[in-house]
Symmetry: C2
C-alpha cells in the first residue's frame, strides 16, 4: 500500500513521533510522511503510534492507496523533506 501520514501532536511528543516515523517512512513536509508499506508494516506503525500518542490531544491521519500511481503529488512553494530513498 502507498501510505501518506500526517501527524498533529503536542509539541512535547513531536520529536519522538517524528523519529519513530522516520524509521518507517519518508519525510516529505513538516508533519507529513509517505512510503510504500505492506499491511503488516502498517500495523507495526499503528501499534508504535498507539504507544506514543495521547489519544485525547494527538491526531494522526493515515491515507492509503493500493497503488502509488493513483495518487499524484504537487508541491507549491518550498520543497521540504528528504529526497533520499533510504529508510
Amino acid at each position: 500500500m502507498y501510505v501518506l501520514l500526517v501527524y498533529d501532536v503536542e509539541v512535547k511528543r513531536v520529536t519522538k513521533v517524528h523519529k519513530f516515523l522516520k524509521r518507517h517512512l519518508h519525510w516529505v513536509q513538516n508533519s507529513v510522511f509517505e512510503g510504500e508499506l505492506t499491511e503488516a508494516q502498517i500495523e507495526t506503525v499503528k501499534a508504535g503510534l498507539h504507544r506514543l500518542l495521547n489519544d485525547e490531544t494527538d491526531s494522526v491521519l493515515i491515507y492509503s492507496a493500493r497503488e502509488q500511481r493513483w495518487l499524484t503529488r504537487e508541491t507549491l512553494g518550498r520543497e521540504r523533506g528528504e529526497t533520499s530513498n533510504l529508510l
Copy 2:
C-alpha cells in the same frame, strides 16, 4: 478529482491560508484539507495560494486521486476538523 491538501506556512499567514482553503475544501485536521474539486477548481485554489504564500518559506502539498474510493483514511487518536459537508 479528490484532493488532499496539507499546508506548512509561517504563523503570520496561517489564518489567511486557512480561511481561503475553508472556502474550497473541508477541514480535516490542523493543516489538512480534503475535498472533491474539478480541474478548474484546483487551478483556482492553486492561483489563490500562489498569491498568499511566500515561496521561500511556505509549502503546500496537493495530493490528488481521480476517484475518492482509491484513497482510504484512518484516524488515530483524536478526530479533528469538521463533519459538515457544507462548503
